[in-house]
Symmetry: C2
Subunit: 247 residues, 2 copies
């Protein structure tokens, strides 16, 4: 784990941890009214602006919500705990108390096909690493991932490297790049014989098909991933109404 992280978190982030813990600990009922921003500012000896930053943060996490003229409230429990995460799979599993695992089927360097190159915005033929894995949830296969990873220096990823760090993203991070934004698109597909065998379902079963392209902090394409999930697996997300500003 992190030996010596930047020891000093921002004030609003620390304050958020305090409030988050209080809310999650659970003494507070759904839609409970929190103290006003001015009161919180005084209580914790910070400026009102810092309190507001803290509230904005907890709001994006779905922990609290504010209403103009009414106050800030604790989100209902159903809405808490669902949040977007870039490492969807293991993160969501951990959050729900499930055990995430994986079985690496193959790690192979190859030149990018035309379709892949266009999806990633790279030169066709550029070296990418194809990683095929079965994703496990509580030791049962639920997903088949085909990841095509673009390494910055065009040095393909080694199997040992991947098994040591445990995840593709961790491997990329160790090379100095990290995915910070991704484009997902979901639809449905039928299981072919190969997918069926790997996922322990009947051929012709419906599968959730999810395609993803992930980008670094500099918006460099890092990975194209094609994922197939069995029907018992569900992806959850929370959507918040967009800000309305036209004309």
């Amino acid at each position: 784990m992190g030996t010596s992280r930047s020891e000093s978190a921002a004030k609003y982030a620390s304050l958020a941890s305090v409030i988050r813990a209080e809310v999650i600990a659970g003494s507070l009922p759904d839609n409970h009214l929190l103290p006003s921003e001015r009161d919180l500012a005084e209580q914790y000896a910070v400026s009102r602006d810092t309190v507001r930053k803290m509230i904005r943060l907890l709001e994006t996490e779905g922990i609290v919500y504010s209403a103009h003229g009414r106050g800030t409230f604790v989100s209902p429990a159903i809405l808490r705990g669902v949040h977007d995460s870039i490492d969807g799979f293991s993160d969501a599993a951990r959050q729900r108390g499930d055990l995430a695992g994986q079985f690496v089927l193959g790690v192979e360097a190859k030149g990018a096909s035309l379709a892949l190159a266009s999806a990633l915005g790279i030169r066709p033929g550029r070296i990418v690493t194809h990683v095929r894995r079965v994703r496990l949830l509580n030791r049962r296969p639920v997903g088949l991932h085909d990841a095509y990873v673009v390494t910055p220096d065009e040095h393909p990823i080694q199997r040992a490297e991947l098994e040591q760090s445990g995840s593709i993203y961790a491997t990329l991070r160790s090379r100095g790049v990290a995915p910070v934004v991704a484009l997902d698109s979901v639809s449905a597909a039928l299981a072919g014989s190969e997918e069926a065998a790997l996922l322990a379902v009947e051929p012709g079963s419906p599968l959730l098909l999810c395609e993803r392209v992930a980008f670094s902090d500099r918006r460099t394409p890092l990975e194209h991933c094609v994922m197939h999930y069995v029907p018992s697996f569900r992806f959850a997300r929370r959507i918040t109404a967009a800000f309305d500003a036209r004309s």
Copy 2:
């Protein structure tokens, strides 16, 4: 159509419209460096804080991104234009230049079943309106929606009302409530004979199954919606790395 909306938008929102238009107009290439916050503040005669609020807004829309110590940049075009929206279907269609439509199969008031009541957090037997619709994209059926709507006063929605306002959410809005947050969960399913007929696919085709519960600004459950989509239909979303703050 808004005749006399609140005429005065916030400064940061108006400023956002200006920058958004400039970026979308397209003279600016991907990853183009924008002027610094201090420069923008001077240029538009506003405080730096207002500029920052504007940038935060455009960032959530995927229009720009900021990097500590480096500057603020124009998002690559692939990442722009994908944003979460609570009215996923028609909004996403409009955005992609497609023609969204619907065909109402039935509008019926009924008492909530036990399962529905628990999903919505309401009393079993409470009156809800079941609206079944086929969703059209460019005049072809792509989705089957079964919406169960909780009206605040328990007055069921009338078919005429729905056809006049054009959408369930518009109908709810006219009754003083609007969905502002929703929980989605997606998985895969097989088309039964009924779904197949309505969606013009073969029975046994794979379908994208999406379930949603929508809540009002007061976190009152408003709607539970079960949606089935043909494989050619894709839901897209952008995911941004979560803020990391532990301990």
